[in-house]
C-alpha cells in the first residue's frame, strides 16, 4: 500500500481507552478478534478488536500490585488466558462469550514480585497458508505431556502444552510451571547443580525477560531464552537444567524484552540500553549469533514482538514510540507516534493484520501495517 517513499507514518486505526492506569501488557486471542489487556491497577479488559469496544472488565489482581502480564496462547486453549500479578500469583482464567469467570480456574502462588513477564510456550507455527511442509506433529516428552485434546478447531496439536515460564522466587532463576497441576516443573538453573556450573552465578542479576519455546529440533523438550539484568542472555534446554545451552551477551543494560519468531530460529531483544539486537538461534550447534544490531538514539525498549509471518518486528520504546523494523533485513520501516507516555508492550495478532501497543498513558493503540498478502 505504501509504494510511495517516505509517506507519513500512519495513525492508529483505533485507540482503546478505558483503563485507568498504565496498560502493562496486551495479548491477542490466538483465533478470535479479541484483545486482552492488563493494567497496573489490576484490571483486565477484554476488547473486541473489530468494534473497538470493551467486552468485559474485571479486577483480577489487587489494585495495589497490578498486573505484570497477560497471556493467551493456543497452547492454553482458546477459552483460557493467564494473568500474572505483582501480588505473587499467576491466575488462569476461563472465559466464555467474552465474559470472564468470577474466580480463576487456577491460582498459582509463585511468590514472585518482580516485573518479568511470564511466557507461554511458543512452538513453531505454520503460516496461515499451511503450504509449508513443516512437521505438524510435535513430539511432546511423554512424561510431561498431558492428554492432547484437539478440541479446538483452529488450534494445533500444541493444545495442552500448558506451561508457563517465569522468573522465580529467587529472581535470578527461571521457573517453569505446569498449569494443569499448578506445580513447579523445573527450575533453571536447577539448584542442585547450580554450584557446579560456573555459567550461571548470581552475577547476572535478575531474570528480566523470558521466552519459552518448543523448537522442532529439540525433540519436544522445551527451551527457554532468558534475558538477565546484566544484559546477558541464556539459552536453556529443560533437559539439561543445570547448564544453559549457550550464553551470550549482546546488551550492556538489563534485557527488558525478548521475542522469538514463529519458526523459533531467531529472535529479537530489547534492553535498557540503546540498541535492539536481532539474532539467530542455531539449534544444531546450540549457538546464538547476532544477526543485526540496531542502534537507537534513546535507550529503553520495553517490549518487542515479531509478526507471525516473520516479516516485520515491532518494538515498544520508553520514548513513547513504536518502531517497526523489517525483520529480515533489520532496517527501520516506521516510527509510530501516538502514545504520550512510555510504551510497555507491543504485540501482533495471529492473523498478522493488527498490531497493538500498550502504553503508560492508559491507552492501547491498534495499528494496521504492511498487511499480509
Amino acid at each position: 500500500m505504501n509504494k510511495k517513499k517516505a509517506a507519513a507514518p500512519p495513525d492508529p486505526v483505533a485507540v482503546l481507552r478505558g483503563h485507568r492506569a498504565s496498560v502493562t501488557d496486551i495479548c491477542f486471542h490466538p483465533s478470535d478478534r479479541i484483545l486482552f489487556s492488563g493494567s497496573a491497577d489490576g484490571e483486565v479488559r477484554i476488547w473486541d478488536t473489530l468494534q473497538h469496544r470493551t467486552l468485559s472488565s474485571s479486577w483480577i489482581h489487587s489494585a495495589s500490585h497490578g498486573i505484570v502480564a497477560v497471556s493467551s496462547s493456543s497452547s492454553l486453549g482458546t477459552n483460557k488466558f493467564v494473568s500474572q500479578g505483582r501480588d505473587g500469583t499467576v491466575k488462569v482464567w476461563d472465559f466464555a462469550h467474552a465474559a470472564l469467570s468470577r474466580s480463576p480456574v487456577l491460582t498459582i502462588k509463585t511468590n514472585t514480585y518482580h516485573f518479568c513477564k511470564l511466557s507461554t510456550v511458543k512452538n513453531p507455527k505454520y503460516f496461515p497458508t499451511k503450504e509449508l511442509g513443516r512437521p505438524s506433529h510435535i513430539e511432546i516428552p511423554d512424561d510431561r505431556r498431558q492428554d492432547e485434546s484437539a478440541a479446538q478447531s483452529c488450534s494445533q496439536s500444541s493444545e495442552g502444552l500448558q506451561y508457563v515460564a517465569l522468573s522465580g522466587e529467587n529472581p535470578s532463576e527461571v521457573e517453569i510451571w505446569d498449569l494443569k497441576s499448578a506445580e513447579r516443573f523445573v527450575r533453571l538453573p536447577s539448584s542442585i547443580i547450580s554450584s557446579s556450573s560456573g555459567v550461571c552465578n548470581k552475577d547476572r542479576g535478575m531474570c528480566m525477560a523470558l521466552q519459552l519455546f518448543l523448537p522442532s529440533e529439540s525433540q519436544g523438550s522445551m527451551n527457554v531464552l532468558a534475558g538477565y539484568e546484566d544484559g546477558s542472555m541464556l539459552w536453556w534446554d529443560v533437559r539439561n537444567p543445570g547448564v544453559p545451552v549457550t550464553s551470550v551477551k549482546f546488551h550492556s543494560e538489563p534485557i527488558l524484552s525478548l521475542c522469538i519468531d514463529s519458526s523459533c530460529n531467531g529472535g529479537i531483544s530489547g534492553a535498557a540500553d540503546d540498541k535492539i539486537v536481532m539474532y539467530n538461534l542455531d539449534h544444531s550447534s546450540g549457538i546464538c549469533v547476532i544477526k543485526k544490531e540496531i542502534n537507537l538514539e534513546r535507550p529503553g525498549i520495553s517490549g518487542t514482538s515479531i509478526r507471525p509471518d516473520e516479516k516485520i518486528a515491532a518494538t515498544a520504546g520508553w520514548d513513547h514510540r513504536v518502531r517497526i523494523y523489517n525483520y529480515r533485513k533489520g532496517n527501520a520501516l516506521a516510527i509510530l507516534k501516538y502514545h504520550h507516555a512510555t510504551c510497555n508492550s507491543v504485540t501482533f495478532s495471529s492473523d498478522c493484520k493488527l498490531l497493538a501497543s500498550a502504553s503508560e498513558d492508559t491507552t492501547v493503540g491498534l495499528w494496521e501495517l504492511y498487511p499480509p498478502a
Partner: protein, 1021 residues
Amino acid sequence: MEKRELEGAVVTKVREVISAITNAKHVDEVVCALHSIAALLFPLDSSLISGSIEEFYRDKVLRVKIPSDEERHDWWDAFYRGVGFPTLARFLLHDVAPNWLGCFPIAAQKHAYDVFFSHGLVSEVVQILVPFLQQNGSDGLDVSTVISNSERLLVLCLLENNGVLQLAREFGGPFKSKGFTNVQIRPAVSRVAQIVASIPDKARMNTLTSLSSQYPLFALPGLDIIWVCMFFKKIIVQLLSLAEERDMTLLENVDMLDEMDKNGALLFVGELFSRISRRGFAELLSSELVLRVLRLVKKCLSSSNHSSTKELLESYPESMCWSRMMEAIRDPYIIERISEQILHQLVTHDADDVQAYWVLWLLFHRNWKVQASIRSIFVDKFLLWKVFPVTCLKWILQFAVHECPPGNSLSGHDRPRFSNIVERLVTAWSKKEFVQTAPIEQQAYISAALGLSLETMSKEELDGMKNSMHLILQGVSCRLESPNDLVRKMASNVALVFSKIIDPKNPLYLDDSCSQETIDWEFGFTARKIVEKTKTSELPSIDKDSDFPVNKEKSISVKSKKKLLDFDTLDPDEIIDPASLNLESDIDDDDDDDDDSASENSYSSSDSSLQPYDLSDDYSDLKRNFTQLTDIVAALRKSDDAEGVERALDVAEKLIRASPDELKHSARDLTRTLVQVRCSDISVEGAEESAEEKRQRALVALTVTSPFESLETLNKLLYSPNVDISQRIMILDVMTEAAQELAESKILKPKQPSTRETSSLISVVSDTRPWFLPSSQGTPGASSWKEVSGTGAFQNWSNTYERELPPKSNQVMKGKTRRWSLRSPVAEQNQMEFSHNKFPMYAAAFMLPAMEGYDKKRHGVDLLGRDFIVLGKLIYMLGICMKSVAMHPEASVLAPSLLDMLKSREVCHHKEAYVRRAVLFAASCVLVAVHPTYISSALLEGNVEIASGLEWIRTWALDVVESDTDRECYMMATKCLQLHAEMALQTSRALESAKSSFKSSPALPSDASKVTIKIPYLNKD
C-alpha cells in the same frame, strides 16, 4: 627737508586746513581745504573731485600743487607717524563728519575724506577710529552720525582694504628696515591686536548696517554674533592669506626661536589669533585653518606617488608657514583650544587617517619638537582628560604617540615615549576610583586609547613595562563587576586585545558580541546618546535593562559544534529491492531447507510492500509534563537530570499560577529549590537565558500567588551565605517584579450588595472600599466609581474618579437611545467592582525583612562593599515597592524606615554611582508615594519624623546636583528636587485646608458621614 621741519610743515598745514574748515560757509570750501592736504599726501587725481564741486572751487582744487612722489612719501610718513594725523583725524571725525559730510559729493567723500583713513597707516588709523565707536554725546553732538561714520570707515579700512593684512605687513616692516627691538615692538603689536579684536565689542549692537553692508541687515540683538563671526572670519581670512600668498619675505628667517620674537608680522598674527580665540572663536579660526591646510595636504598627497610625503610637503614653500603661525600663538590655553577644534574640524571634513596625520604634522611639528607644553597637551590632556571621537583618538595616537605617519611599521623600534604613555594610560585605566567616578564617555575614551595602543604592541614591549600586566588584569576585573554593560564591554575588549598580545592564536572572548575581527572601540556610543536624550524626560529610573554582570560572566563561549542529530544508522531512503531481500532470506534460512520456491515467491511479492515510512522524528512530545508541585520540587533537586530540571522549569510557572491548594504548603520548599537551581549547569550552551528567565518567572508567580510564604524564604535566602551574587540579584528582581505585578493586579469581586438596598437598612461602620475612593453617597442609582486613566505614565498626585449619574428628574432626554441588551438597574448592581492594588497588604512583608540586614557584613555577604550591585538592586526594589504602595496609608508607615536606611551615610554617599542612582530613585518613589494629606496631618500632630526625612531628601538631592560626578545621578537628583517641590506644594495646600477645617470643627469630619441612613430611592426611571 629735515624731518623736524617737515613735521612742522605738516602741523602748520593741518592747522590751516582745520581753521579753513571751521570758517567755511560752503561745503565746497571744506572739500577744497581737505583736498589741499590730501593732495600732499596721496597720489590723487584732482579732476575726480573737481567734477562735483562748483566752478569757483574747481579752479582752486585744480590749482593745488602736486608734489613729487618722494616728497609725498615723506609728507605721508611725517603726517602719520607724527601728530598731524591724530589731530586732523579727530577733527574730521568729530566735526566734519556731523556738520559737513552729509553734503559731500560722493567723489569728494571718497577722495578727500575717506582717503585719510583708507590709505593711511593702518595701525594709527585703527587707534584713532576705534575709540570713536564709543563716543558719547554729552556736548550736544550728533553722536549717532559720528559713530556710524566711524563704523563705516572701519569697515572701509579693515575689511575692504585688507587692513589687517596691511597691519601685519606694517609690523613686519620695521623689523626688516629699522631693526626694532623686541621690547619696542611687542607692546605696540599687542595694543593694536587688542584694539582690533575689541572692535566687535565696541560696535553698537543694532546699528551695524554700515559695517555689514554686503550682509543682510540684522536688527535682532541675538543675531549680532553672526556679524561678529563675519568680522572675525574676514580678519582670519586676511591673515591666513599671508601664508597662502607665499609671501615669504615677511616670514623668512624665522627659523631661530629668538628671531621669531622679533618678527612683528608673526607676533601680530599670533597675538590676534590668541585674542580671537579667547573671545570664543577658536572654532571659526580652526575651521578656516583646517580648510586651507587640508587642501594643501590633499593636493600634496594626490601628487606624490611613492616619494616621502614629508619631503614633498617640505618642498612646498607655504607649508612651513603654518607651523610657524601656530608657533606664534604663545598662549598654551589657546593652543589647546585651537588644536582641539582642529581635531573636531578634521572629523567634520571627513579627513582620512593619512590626511589628518599630515595636517597635524604641518601645523604642530615645530611646536611639538620645541615646546613641552604642546606635548603635554596632546599626550596628557587629549589622551587622559578630554573626550574625542574615536577617529580623533586614532589621529592623536598616531601623531603624538607613534610619531610617524600611519601605515609605517610601528613595533620593533624602541619607543620609550610610547611605553611611557601606555603605562600612564594603564595606570589611569586600572584604578577602581576611575571606574567609579569618571563619566562613561571618558571611560570609553580611555579604554579605546588603551586598546588602540595595545593593539600595536608586541609581547616584548609589554613585558618591558613593569606592572602593566597586573594593572590590566586588575582593570579588567574591576570592570567586569560593573552593573553597566558598556563598562563590561570595555573590559572584555581590552582583555581581548591583551590576550592577543600574549598569545595571538588564542584570543580570549569574554563576550559573545565581540567575536568579530575588529573591535568596536566606540562602544556604540553614538546610538546611546540619542537614547539618553529621550530618557531624561521621564522620571528618574534606574536603567532597568542594564544586565547584571554575573549572568554574562559565564558566557566565555566555547562554540561547540552542535551535533547533528544523526537519526538512524539505517538509511530511511533505502529502496528495498525485493530480489535482494529474497536473496537474503535465502541466506538467512539456509538451514531451512524446506523453504521452497513458492514461499520465496510469496515473500518477494509481499516484501515489496515493506516500504519504509517517513522516519523523521521530533522529540517535542517527549518532554514529560509535571502536574504536581511536589514533582517539580523533586525534579529540580535532581541536578544531575538536566532534562528533568529544564522540563520542571518549563511547567513551573503555569502550575504555580494555577494556584493549587497545596501551594501554600510547598511554597517555601519550592522557593528555596527554585532559587538554588543552577540554570547554567542544566541548559545547553546559549539557552541559559531562557532557563534563567523561566526560573525567574516561576518565582515571580510564586511570590504573587503566595506572598507571605515565599517572601519569608526569599528574605532568608537573600542574606544567606549559601547563595551567590547572581542569585541574590535574581531574588531582588523577583521581588521587584512580584511587587509590580501585585500592584497592578485586578481583583474582581461582587459589588457590595448595594448602596440602595442594604446600606439603607444597615449602617456600615467600616467600608471595605479603599479609603482613597470618593464616597459612594450622592445621587442614588449612580454607578460605581472608576478611576480615570490619566495620560501620564506615572502615578498622578490627584487620582481622578468618575461615575455615571442617573439623569435628574427635571432633565428630559431628547432623542432615542437604543441598547441591544436588557440593561436593568438590577443588572447594573451585579456589576463587578475591582480594587486596583493588592500590594499594600504585603508591602511590609516585602520591605521590612529586606531592609534589616543590608549593613551587616557576614560570610559571603558584603552589600556595602563588594556586592554593591546587590545593594543597588535592593534599594531599587524598595523604591518599586514604595511606588507600588503609593497613596495608600501603608506608604506613610513604611516611608520613614526606608528613609532611615537611605539616609545612612554608607548608602547615600556610596562610592558607586549605581547605588547612588538607586537611592535617588527610591527617594523619588517615596516622594510620590506618601500622600500629602498624611504629611500635613503628621505635621499637625507634631510628628516630625516624616517631615525630616523628606527634608533630608531635598538637601541630599541638592548636594548631589552640586557635587556628583555621575551625570545620570545629578539629572536624577534634579528630577527628584522637582518632585519634592511638587510634593511640598501639595502638602502646603493640604495643610491649609486642614487648618481651616481644624478651626471650624475641632473634630475632623471623618468617614462617619458615610454611615448616614439613606432613604431608598424607588422610582429610578
